[in-house]
Every structure is written in structure tokens, then in C-alpha cells.
């Protein structure tokens, strides 16, 4: 699809009727287009009317409790910003997608290794490190802040099945994964739509084998 056509995607985008690759392209376009955000807002105000027109059964009362319980249990990966003194410019490792810049984490990783027995530190392809202790793992990385409407999402891939393991916005962060890891698993990071995804749709920016 050529650039001249991209504004024509607004209506289908407002209806969530774009193929995934077009949705991705259009969302990137939205971030820098001057007129599309207004256009989408206008078209969405029309699309949402179709939602109000829908009829159907009432939700079961349990659904409310279920949602609130899940919200309580779900914790956003508690991201710890790294302390300033740990950061220093070092050789940048360019990611294939060039959006991830790893800053020197070796010193910090080494200090971790020395701090506690049984911790392993694995360099991630694309930048950053994976710190593994038993079945718990954290990603330590410096990455660009995720663009508006996007979030970084970590994945634990077991037997080729990726499972969501936490969201983060970027910066220099330590992200404890929300899923246990085992030897043979792969940990990966992608860029996803805000709110995260159940399956990875963005390309892999960083990855490491446990």
C-alpha cells in the first residue's frame, strides 16, 4: 500500500476493520499525521453508535466481580527505575529494529552476579540483560520510551508458545517477569498496542534463551 492511500484507512481503522499489518502501519501514521487523529475521532463517534444499537442478553452479575478480582490480582510488572549511578554511556548495541538502544549494563549485571549466589545474567540479543534467579527472571535494559499508544511487552516463550509476562514503557528499567521461566524457554520483548496483547504482533526487539 502506498503512502497516498493511507488516509483512506481511517474509516476501517475506526471500525477495527483493518488487517493487522494495515492497523500497524496506520497507527504509526497516526502518531505523526496532522489530520488523521481528528478524522479518526470523528469516525469513531459514528462507529460507537453501532455499539449502542446492539441488543442482547444482560451480562451475568458475576462478571463484575470477576473483572474486579482480576484487576486486583493483576499487577503491572513493578518496574524499578535504575539508579543514576548505574548508568553510563557504553557501546550501543543496535537492535535489528533499531528502536532498542542498550546502554552499559554490564557493571550493574556484574554487581548482581557478585551480590547473590545463584543468579545468572544472560545478554539479550538486541540489547539489555536477562537476570535469572531460580525460576524468576527480570529484564534489565535501557530502551527508548514506547511511542504513544504503544507499550513494550515481555514474553516467556515455552515450547514455541509465547505467553505475556508484563508490560513496560521504556527508559532504563528492571522488569520482573510475571511468569516463571525454565531452562529452554526464551524471553522476548516486542512493541504492542497500549494495554498489551495476548499474542505478540510486533517484531521481536530483544530476546534471550534461559
Amino acid at each position: 500500500m502506498g503512502e497516498p492511500d493511507i488516509h483512506d484507512l481511517a474509516a476501517a481503522y475506526a471500525l477495527n476493520a483493518l488487517e493487522p499489518e494495515d492497523r500497524w502501519t496506520y497507527e504509526r501514521h497516526l502518531d505523526h499525521c496532522e489530520r488523521c487523529p481528528d478524522e479518526v475521532a470523528r469516525l469513531r463517534a459514528g462507529a460507537v453508535q453501532l455499539g449502542y444499537a446492539a441488543t442482547g442478553p444482560e451480562p451475568r452479575p458475576e462478571l463484575r466481580d470477576r473483572i474486579l478480582r482480576a484487576a486486583r490480582e493483576e499487577r503491572m510488572a513493578p518496574v524499578t527505575p535504575l539508579r543514576r549511578r548505574w548508568l553510563f554511556p557504553a557501546t550501543a548495541v543496535a537492535a535489528a529494529a533499531a528502536t532498542v538502544a542498550a546502554v552499559g549494563l554490564g557493571l550493574w549485571a556484574n554487581s548482581l552476579r557478585n551480590d547473590v549466589d545463584g543468579r545468572r545474567v544472560v545478554a539479550m540479543q538486541g540489547g539489555g540483560s536477562l537476570v535469572i534467579s531460580g525460576d524468576e527472571a527480570s529484564i534489565v535494559a535501557c530502551v527508548d520510551r514506547a511511542p504513544a499508544e504503544k507499550t513494550y511487552e515481555a514474553w516467556v516463550i515455552e515450547n514455541k508458545v509465547p505467553r505475556p509476562a508484563g508490560l513496560f514503557r521504556g527508559g532504563c528499567v528492571m522488569v520482573p517477569l510475571m511468569r516463571p521461566v525454565e531452562r529452554g524457554d526464551t524471553v522476548a520483548v516486542t512493541l504492542e498496542a497500549k494495554g498489551g496483547s495476548n499474542v505478540p504482533k510486533g517484531e521481536i526487539l530483544m530476546s534471550a534463551n534461559v
Binding site: 483512506d8 484507512l9 481511517a10 474509516a11 476501517a12 475506526a14 471500525l15 477495527n16 476493520a17 483493518l18 488487517e19 487523529p37 479518526v40 475521532a41 470523528r42 469516525l43 469513531r44 463517534a45 459514528g46 462507529a47 460507537v48 453508535q49 453501532l50 455499539g51 449502542y52 444499537a53 446492539a54 441488543t55 442482547g56 442478553p57 444482560e58 451480562p59 451475568r60 462478571l63 463484575r64 470477576r66 473483572i67 474486579l68 482480576a70 484487576a71 486486583r72 493483576e74 503491572m76 504513544a148 499508544e149 507499550t151 508490560l167 497500549k194 494495554g195 498489551g196 495476548n198
Partner: protein
């Protein structure tokens, strides 16, 4: 000081909490206020479930879609941008997106999405009359659209068809689908003021 006292007298705390606007609810949810998430569900849970059920036609899947959408709101309410959408539009857009993602994954949409669902029984809830009046207004507006526009909108929104699938299904060029959707959405928005 006196202005502050006046403000307090004019807006007692309890009243303010009860009457929090949708935007204030989203702000509170962004700060991790679970009660605010419950209040948002009380406002939009029913219409959200109606959308999800219309698309998925399955109780368990519709519940999953609504839950995933509300959890997405829980995680990203602080990213809500008022210049992009009103809170109600944002919430329903998220619900709709989860539902069509699910229907595409489940490949359930082969059922004809144009059949209207039977009107729900009930009516024991106070706001039901207003909600129903609003729904009738929208349904009337929808019926007043040229049929090719209405068909494109309904297949896309309720059927979860992508624009390319629609073009194939309807046997028309992609550009025709795009312009029908565009014209239909604009017309709908003009006909109905958002609740």
C-alpha cells in the same frame, strides 16, 4: 480560604464521588482506584457486554472480551487522551476491538451478523428506559442509512470482517468498501448525538 470553604459547601465530598464524570473515573482508574473501575463497569458494562455478545454470540467469549477490555482500561487508563475520543467512545472501542480480535481468532463470524438479536427481557433496572430510548434512536438512524452503507458498517462492526474480506464478500472493489464505510460512519455520527 473562604473560596475553599464555599467550594466544599457547594460540592460535598460524597456528592462529588457519586457524580464523578467519566473522565474523572478514568483518571482515578489510572491512579489504581479499583472502586472507580467498578463504577466505570456499572456505567458501561451492560452496553459493553451487548457489543461483545452481538459479535461473539457466546456467553463465555463475550465475558472474556469484556474482561480483557476492562483490564486493558485498568492498565492503560492513564494513557487515555481526551482529544482522541470521549471516555465512552474509548471504552467501547476497546471492547469492540477485543471482541473482533476474538471472533477472528475463533473464526466464529460465519454466522450471519445481520440478524438482529431478540430484545433482552428485563427492565427492572432504573436506567433501562433511557438506555432503550437511546438504542431505539440509534437503530432508527441506522435503518435510515442507504442499504449498502448500512450493510458495510454492520458486517464490519458486528461481523468482524476486515475491509478486504468485505470487498471479497460483497464482490466490490476495496475502494467502494472504504467509501461506503466512510460515508456511513459520518452519516451515523450526524444523525445521533453521542449519549
Amino acid at each position: 480560604m473562604s473560596e475553599y470553604a464555599l467550594a466544599l459547601a457547594a460540592f460535598p465530598e460524597r456528592r462529588r464521588v457519586r457524580e464523578r464524570s467519566n473522565e474523572q473515573l478514568l483518571e482515578a482508574i489510572g491512579a489504581g482506584d479499583e472502586a472507580a473501575l467498578g463504577a466505570l463497569y456499572d456505567r458501561f458494562g451492560r452496553v459493553a457486554y451487548g457489543v461483545a455478545f452481538r459479535i461473539l454470540r457466546d456467553q463465555a467469549l463475550a465475558e472474556d472480551a469484556v474482561q480483557e477490555a476492562f483490564l486493558a482500561i485498568w492498565r492503560s487508563a492513564d494513557a487515555y487522551r481526551r482529544e482522541r475520543a470521549t471516555p465512552s467512545t474509548w471504552v467501547l472501542t476497546l471492547v469492540h476491538r477485543r471482541a473482533v480480535d476474538l471472533v477472528r481468532r475463533e473464526d466464529r463470524r460465519r454466522a450471519e451478523p445481520l440478524d438482529e438479536q431478540p430484545e433482552a427481557a428485563g427492565g427492572d433496572v432504573p436506567e433501562e428506559a433511557a438506555v432503550r430510548a437511546g438504542r431505539v434512536e440509534v437503530q432508527t438512524a441506522l435503518r435510515s442509512l442507504p442499504s449498502d452503507q448500512r450493510q458495510a458498517l454492520e458486517l464490519a462492526y458486528y461481523g468482524g470482517y476486515t475491509q478486504s474480506e468485505l470487498a471479497e464478500r460483497l464482490g466490490v472493489p476495496l475502494g467502494t468498501v472504504k467509501s461506503r464505510m466512510f460515508a456511513g460512519l459520518n452519516r451515523l455520527r450526524e444523525l445521533v448525538s453521542e449519549p
